[in-house]
């Protein structure tokens, strides 16, 4: 795998789109691995009682998908410095969500890249907008 460097990046560049879809089994594994017993992630009937259309994909799981999207792009020599996201609408199991990113600013001396990022539902709605800051190798400083 070749390592992206700061010289490879321009403002306006878009990142390779990443797709994710969580099965019920993955929701279960994530509940277990994150020690999260919240019923809306495994009890469909109870999720309905709370007004949800289906089981919900955990917000922090979508957050970790987002960090994966960024660290995959930054490569092993890159570092994720900052990320923030808003869980604006629900994501449901077995639907394909996509992650998108655009470079908004570059500090070439320090190898710093700022990005706008978002997760979209299958119908293209933004369900989780955010921003991120990544450092890449090759800064002059």
């Amino acid at each position: 795998m070749s390592q992206i460097t700061i010289a490879d990046v321009s403002v306006g560049d878009t990142l390779p789109v990443m797709e994710k879809a969580a099965t019920e089994a993955q929701l279960f594994l994530y509940s277990a691995a994150s020690h999260n017993p919240h019923r809306i992630h495994y009890d469909r009937e109870y999720a309905g009682v709370e007004g949800h259309a289906d089981l919900l994909v955990h917000g922090p799981l979508q957050g970790s998908w987002l960090t994966q999207f960024l660290t995959d792009w930054a490569g092993p020599g890159g570092r994720l410095l900052n990320v923030n996201w808003q869980n604006r609408a629900s994501a449901y199991p077995n639907e394909v969500v996509t992650f998108h990113g655009t470079v908004t600013a570059i500090d070439p001396d320090n190898g710093i890249v700022d990005l706008d990022v978002e997760e979209r539902s299958p119908d293209g709605r933004v369900i989780m907008p955010g921003t991120a800051r990544v450092s890449l190798p090759g800064g002059a400083a």
Binding site: A33, H35, G59, V83, N84
Partner: protein, 163 residues
């Protein structure tokens, strides 16, 4: 304007420590279980040589894993109807449902397997807002994570939406 969902005693806690400091060891198996559950099989989490080639002291862990490593074991007797634990550190609100609103993270230094991380959580903000489905409360909990060398490795702001 609807009645307040935030009791005065909770407003008085803004800025106060809600939890910690607690110290945990970052365990390889827990971190790898987390990475597999996410579907993030980055070699720097699984392959010592790959982690070192990437500049880490040893295996590193998924960026936000550190917050999950801190969850304390509790009895199932403490579960509420919605499956969440009754939380002694919780802020009392006149609400029945808590939703995850988002997070903000600063990653300040690497976290590696074997690190001892000490976390302290403060109530950073508590605001009542009017939404399309009625009033809700936005709660921000800020956590600082410090390693065994006294280096602050991360800071998170977790946003909860309660109604």
């Amino acid at each position: 304007m609807s009645t307040s969902l935030i009791p005065q005693e909770s407003l008085d806690r803004i800025g106060a420590v809600l939890a910690g400091p607690i110290t945990v060891t970052i365990e390889q198996r827990e971190a790898q279980r987390y990475a597999y559950a996410v579907g993030d099989e980055n070699p720097v989490y699984f392959d010592e040589a790959a982690a070192q080639a990437a500049g880490y002291r040893t295996l590193t862990v998924p960026p936000t894993f550190v917050t999950h490593a801190l969850v304390q074991p509790k009895s199932a007797e403490e579960l509420r109807t919605d499956g969440l634990y009754r939380d002694g550190t919780g802020v009392r609100l006149e609400v029945s449902r808590m939703m995850f609103g988002g997070e903000e993270w600063d990653f300040l230094a690497p976290v590696c397997v074997g690190d001892q991380i000490t976390a302290t959580t403060r109530l950073a903000a508590l605001d009542q807002k009017e939404g399309s489905k009625g009033p809700f409360v936005r709660q921000v909990r800020e956590t600082t994570y410090v390693n065994q060398d006294g280096v602050e490795v991360a800071r998170s702001r977790q946003i909860g939406i309660a109604r």
